[in-house]
Symmetry: C2
Amino acid sequence: MLVEAPILGLRALFFDVFGTLVDWRSSVAREAERILKPLGYNLDWAAFADAWRAEYQPGMEEVRAGRIPFSKLDVLHRRNLERFAPRFGLSLSSDVLHELTLAWHRLDAWPEVPAALARLKTKYLIAPVSNGNISLMVDLARRNGLPWDAILGAEVAGDYKPKPRVYTAACEAFDLAPAQCMMVAAHSSDLAAAAACGLRAGHIARPDEHGPGTGERAPKVAVDVAGRDLADLADKLGC
Amino acid sequence: MLVEAPILGLRALFFDVFGTLVDWRSSVAREAERILKPLGYNLDWAAFADAWRAEYQPGMEEVRAGRIPFSKLDVLHRRNLERFAPRFGLSLSSDVLHELTLAWHRLDAWPEVPAALARLKTKYLIAPVSNGNISLMVDLARRNGLPWDAILGAEVAGDYKPKPRVYTAACEAFDLAPAQCMMVAAHSSDLAAAAACGLRAGHIARPDEHGPGTGERAPKVAVDVAGRDLADLADKLGC
């Protein structure tokens, strides 16, 4: 039996990635331990991941505000790492800093994500619209089996979310009007920015994103659909 | 038994698409007949496809020379169609012109391509580096089962091959040096331009691209590898 998509005219789904599709916190903590423990460091690895992530928005704000030219997220991650690493007593070679920066290319998807994306792809065009760069997205796709139609997002747009250009560039790449596209994210701020550009909004709960009980259990803004996870969202979109 | 890749350090393969991976001539002829015959037109459909393709390089040259801003290939295909259609006695509505322009989204791959690409993907990152726009590439990938890691090429670079920026932007998107990347094409001019940027070159014979016996049977420039078709190239790259 064919189930009609409940949102008329919806053609493409754009996905936030960090937090929404992949568990950056556990993965970065694991990678940091793998790389740094053999060098004699013994840190609170989750705190290390949190400290790195805390530099994320300020780093991108340099680009959004036009103070530095667009630089891909790998470059910002490396710069941010060098900024906060001394607080953890780390003194690392350039090679180790590079290897550590690539931790963000080795993040694991939340368990239901690959199968749910494959279901959603049967009915919709699917692409990441993340602040992560293209090579990072490709590595995550290969690692986790994410069957993207294309890699869109910050590097293609030349700016960082929540700047409107990132959302509108994604719609234009697929030759679609904003109302034919839905941004899917676990972060209300991302959805609000997409909705301001005319896109639909789909929320996923990720209550443990920054550790148990820290993430959004429900959207804080009006959305078109909200799911307990991506499988639930796929159910609600008729896939 | 693992076969070592014969080209040291090669990490990514970039593909020309029109002619190299898909048979644009038969497909456009078929689509034109499907759309125009019911309107009472009876043309030499292959000649119609050839006439459209003849406008291809002059159309892109407007962008390459900086006379018009970058416009995606769909826009140029539409403009080119309106330019030569009167020569075939066609007087078409805007809707029909639009539908006809989308013929280029419905091209069929040469028969060995999908399976050969899947083999190549086990060892290399793979992406189209075509002058076709992102939505066109996505439609061809869905139609033919082309398992791209990412869609690169003209729209991402903001210019058209053979301008160097298109090749170097693709390498940069994958964080690779040009020597770690190979351009694969059935056209020596494309390979020469890529090689001038430091990329490796892989040639595929498509002797029937513009009709029987019209295409390149062998490269006219020095290349790193040449295949009878994409399956043969995959064999030669140890996949």
